[in-house]
Every structure is written in structure tokens, then in C-alpha cells.
Assembly symmetry: C2
Homo-oligomer: 325 residues x 2
């Protein structure tokens, strides 16, 4: 049955050329180019949510991990774990979304794997994607390049993905609806690195754990503080309202189609303008800057609040939202 399923449904939909053990790929690596290699598993619940489903999420997620590492994503693998009894129609919809998302992101799904587990062995469908990208010579991103005075830019509205999933899970609807921001960022990052490669110090996509967690990781890795302005955070009214209703802080809510860039201060406005000229960056905003450590304290993220105070933004101490991606 599974062999038939793979042969008749999965391979054609994903345009897998062969059932063999590994895809053989002709890599054209010019001198000095490097490979980027990344993986993520997707266990989002429910499978479908406003703005997307587990299929496009799985493609965009790995595309974005490669993109923010400075790579041009080329090839993806897709591993499916399917619960026995999952409606074939559901599987078809997800596979179609995978194929569409791969096309939109201009990547190829080159190999796959399917496991079917007994009823109750997993919850409907889990997807793993792994991806290979190529990092062109001269691109050097990372916390080692971050300096005091660098500017923190976010490429779009925050909190949409997490709120869309939570709303669906809790049967809430908003008017206008809050849609997941799931999208491939490689078009945007290639544009940024092509024009402003030297000015971009580091990029990261604030998925699970949200903007707060990502900024804290960047602070820890760079060994410097990051200060952000609450009033500068681009947050849709619907997301703000939903966060109040659900008792969530939008800074910790997952995103699937935005990136945070740490940028040379002198080029920040130019990078911001470039982002805003791209549909996926139209709501980009400067939200803060890199500041010196305070005495001998460990690196902090500080939020300048709308009423003029300052508070420390830490990793989430309690429960993170589970199965948000």
C-alpha cells in the first residue's frame, strides 16, 4: 500500500524523479563557495491554519533557515511521517502545498521518505525538511561581525504566524483575520546581500520563541546588549488584540516569514529602504540597536517601553507555545 502511495501520489506531486536512495546533484561551486545545510521538523497543530498549512510551512521554514545564513537555497528533502487513517485528501492538499511552495521559493525537492505509523502513533502528519544552499564567496555573516552601534531591523509585522495558529486551535476568528506570515525569504535575502552585502552583519528568522528569543540569542552570541523600542515594533492591531485576549506577549510569538537583520549603522536607512521595496519587506522597521554591556553583566536584551521605562527581555522562562511550527 505504501509503495503504491509513494509511487502514485507522493513522487508525482513532488516531482521526485526517482525512488532511489539518494539524489545525485550537480553542484557548481565556484572557488570559495561553501554549502549551507539545515533541517527542521514540523509538528504544527492543527495542520491547516489561516494563511497556510504544514506543507508550505515545512518548505518555507528550511528555505528561510538557509536564506538567513546567507545561502541561496537549492535542494530540499521531504520526510513524511503519516498516521494511519489520515485522509488521502488531506495528504494531497499538503503535498500540493509543498510543491507550490517549492516552486515559489525556486528550490527543488530532490529526495523524500515516507513512514506510516499506526493510529495513535503520531498526530496525523509530521514533516521534516532538510535543505542545501550555496553561500557565495565573500559573504560573511555572524555574531563576530556585530559591533556597538549596529542597527536592528525587522523585515515585517511580528506575531502573525503564532496568533493565526493559536486562533485556529482555539476556534477564535478575528476581523480582519490574522494570517500566518509563512513565506520564503530567499528572494529578499538575495536582494539584500547582492546590494548591501557588506552592511549586513547577521540575519536570523525569529520563528519559535519569537523576536525576543532570537534577539537574546544574538546578544549572547555577540557578547553585547541589544536595546529595542516598544513603540517601533511593527505589530498589526489584530495581533495586539489577540495577544491581549490570549495573554501572550507578541515579542514571544512565532513568525514564519520575517527576518531580523543586524546592520551597519551608516547603511541602516539604505537597507531599510531596500527591504521596503520588496513585498515581503514592506512593513520593515528599525526597532533598536546594539549597545555596550553594562559592567560585568551578561548580555541583555532591553526594551524601552512606551512610557519611558526599561525592562529586561529574557528567554521565556515558562511554557513556550507548543506545536506552533
Amino acid at each position: 500500500m505504501m509503495h503504491g502511495l509513494i509511487r502514485e501520489l507522493i513522487s508525482p506531486t513532488l516531482a521526485l524523479s526517482s525512488l532511489s536512495d539518494a539524489a545525485i546533484l550537480q553542484a557548481e561551486l565556484r572557488g570559495g563557495a561553501r554549502l549551507a545545510f539545515s533541517t527542521d521538523s514540523y509538528v504544527v497543530s492543527p495542520l491547516f491554519f489561516p494563511g497556510g498549512n504544514i506543507g508550505d510551512l515545512a518548505i518555507n521554514g528550511t528555505v528561510n533557515d538557509l536564506a538567513v545564513s546567507g545561502a541561496k537555497p537549492l535542494w530540499l528533502t521531504v520526510g513524511l511521517i503519516i498516521e494511519e487513517g489520515l485522509p488521502i485528501e488531506t495528504l494531497k492538499q499538503v503535498l500540493n502545498s509543498i510543491a507550490d511552495a517549492a516552486q515559489r521559493a525556486n528550490v527543488r525537492v530532490v529526495a523524500g521518505d515516507t513512514k506510516v505509523v499506526n493510529r495513535g502513533g503520531c498526530d496525523q502528519l509530521f514533516i521534516n525538511t532538510a535543505g542545501i544552499g550555496v553561500v557565495d564567496e565573500g559573504i560573511d555573516l555572524g555574531p563576530h561581525r556585530i559591533k556597538v552601534g549596529d542597527i536592528v531591523i525587522v523585515s515585517g509585522m511580528i506575531g502573525n504566524h503564532g496568533i493565526a495558529v493559536m486562533a485556529e486551535r482555539n476556534g477564535l476568528t478575528f476581523d480582519p483575520p490574522v494570517l500566518s506570515d509563512t513565506a520564503p525569504l530567499n528572494g529578499l535575502t538575495e536582494r539584500l546581500l547582492g546590494s548591501e552585502g557588506n552592511a549586513i552583519k547577521m540575519m536570523r528568522d525569529p520563528t519559535r520563541g519569537g523576536v525576543a528569543t532570537t534577539l537574546k540569542e544574538i546578544a549572547l552570541e555577540s557578547g553585547l546588549n541589544i536595546e529595542i523600542d516598544e513603540t517601533e515594533l511593527p505589530i498589526a492591531a489584530g495581533v495586539n488584540g489577540a495577544c491581549e485576549l490570549l495573554g501572550l506577549d507578541p515579542l514571544y510569538v512565532a513568525n514564519e516569514g520575517i527576518l531580523i537583520a543586524i546592520v551597519d549603522r551608516d547603511r541602516a536607512q539604505s537597507v531599510l529602504n531596500l527591504m521596503r521595496s520588496n513585498p515581503l519587506g514592506k512593513d520593515a522597521a528599525i526597532i533598536g540597536e546594539v549597545t555596550p554591556l553594562r559592567g560585568d553583566r551578561s548580555p541583555l536584551v532591553l526594551l524601552r517601553t512606551s512610557i519611558g521605562g526599561r525592562r529586561i527581555v529574557d528567554m521565556l522562562a515558562g511554557e513556550q507555545l507548543t506545536r506552533i511550527c
Copy 2:
């Protein structure tokens, strides 16, 4: 909690150097070299079985998929899906097995991902691995190279992995015990391709679905028949006995440490001798040959039985063993 888990347990055990989104790898691809890229998810139940566990299985499985494609495996990713409540001690044991297996296979785990799902959301632990290997210039494996008269060699005893898992699942013990054959085949394949590269037409590892399914796939892909001799199949007495007890045909039982090679007839003995000089190939045997199609029938696998008859070996029509890998 998860961030702590990743930082304190998973990353150090797997020697992951960073928590960033993608690993950046320096690839030294000489002219004409290609990349091989493969993925597999592992959902084996139970997690531990005689001879191995889900951790080494996940490493060896992807290493072998790359190896039988003619690649030298270099880098792996590991994606964990953990059920809430999995004992930390269990996770530690599996992570240690992953690290040990990677070292044995001489590959590096370069990136990882961890998702925790609610109790009942999955069954204890699933693992996805993806891997990159390099295929040297001049290596050309595939069904297009297979001709009538080519010899079929299996590198070791068949059926051990599936029987070891089924025995554990059903509370059976054998004396001597049947152990999973889980092992990395890249040392063997590199040796074979180094010395007998031209003679090897195609390799594949007969995992899920066993030797029968793999041979049928090779027949279909090459467009030729394959005939094998029942009396030549290397099967341990314990596996034969267990198969009778459990009502299984060893030809369909999963293997995790052997390969099937289709080899030029004139070099078959030489390839066999080379295999047997390697500990993982000591039980290698010639089991059959490639034969012409019969009239206009589609490609078949035929078994010459011990009593002189012939029967068609097809894909498994009914239930395959589930969660065997």
C-alpha cells in the same frame, strides 16, 4: 525547558558547534564531483532492540543510502521529535548512540532540530536524518548500466534486523540471539568502488521490504529479469527458525547493514573476494544473475527453489511489517 535541553544535552552530545539556523560547510569538490543528498525518518518500535537502537539506526541508515549511491558520506543533520515525558535517560542513551555511530561511520552531525510534542502526540521518539555525500568523478552507478548476465551479490546474511525488532516486540528470545545488522556500509562501498569501480553497476541496501522488494525495484528500473537461487541465500539458522515461527519470509524482512550489488559477470568472483575480506562482507554470497525478459512480460524476479522449481517473487501484496525502521 527545551532551550535548556538542547543547550545542555543535545548540542554537546552531538558536538553541534552552534545553534544557528544552518551549518556552513567548506566543500572541496574536485572537478566533476557531484553531491548526493538523502533523507530518512526513523519510527522504529521499540526504540531499543538486540544489536542497536533508533539512534545508531538513524545514522547508519542515511550513511548507507549515500554509500550505496556511490557517495562518500560527509555531513548529517539530525531532527528529533520527542514525546513529552520521554525519560531523559532514554534520550541520553539514544544521543550517545548517535554520536558513537557518527564517529564509527566517520561522518559529522552538523545541524539539528528538536521538537517536543504533547503526551500521545507521538510514540516516544522519532528521528529524521538527512545526509550529504560527495560522489567522485568517474563513478557512474545505476540501472542503465545493468546487462543480461550481470551477477547479483549480497554482502551479508539477510533478515537479521527485522527479526531482531520483531522478536523484541513480541517478547521472544533466541539462542544464540538474533541481532540487528545495523552498521555503516561506507567503508565497504569505498573499498569496492576504489578497487572495482567499473565492475559495480549498481548498489542498493535492502531495508524495509527486504531483499525481495529491492530486487524487484532493480528489475523494474533496469527493465530486465533477475533470477536468484534459494539455496544460495545466506540466512542464519536463527533467522530461518524465527521466520517459520512468525510466519515471515526472510526475503521480505528488513536489513540495515547489508547491500545488494549488481556486478559485471567477469569480475564477480573478484568483487566477492574483496567483500569477504571486509568484516561487514564476510558472509557475502553470489545469489543470482540478471536474465532477459520473457516475451513481452514486465520485469520479474524469479526464485529457483531448493526443490528445482521456479516462483515469482513480487512486491509484498499485503501488510508490510510496520515501524521496523
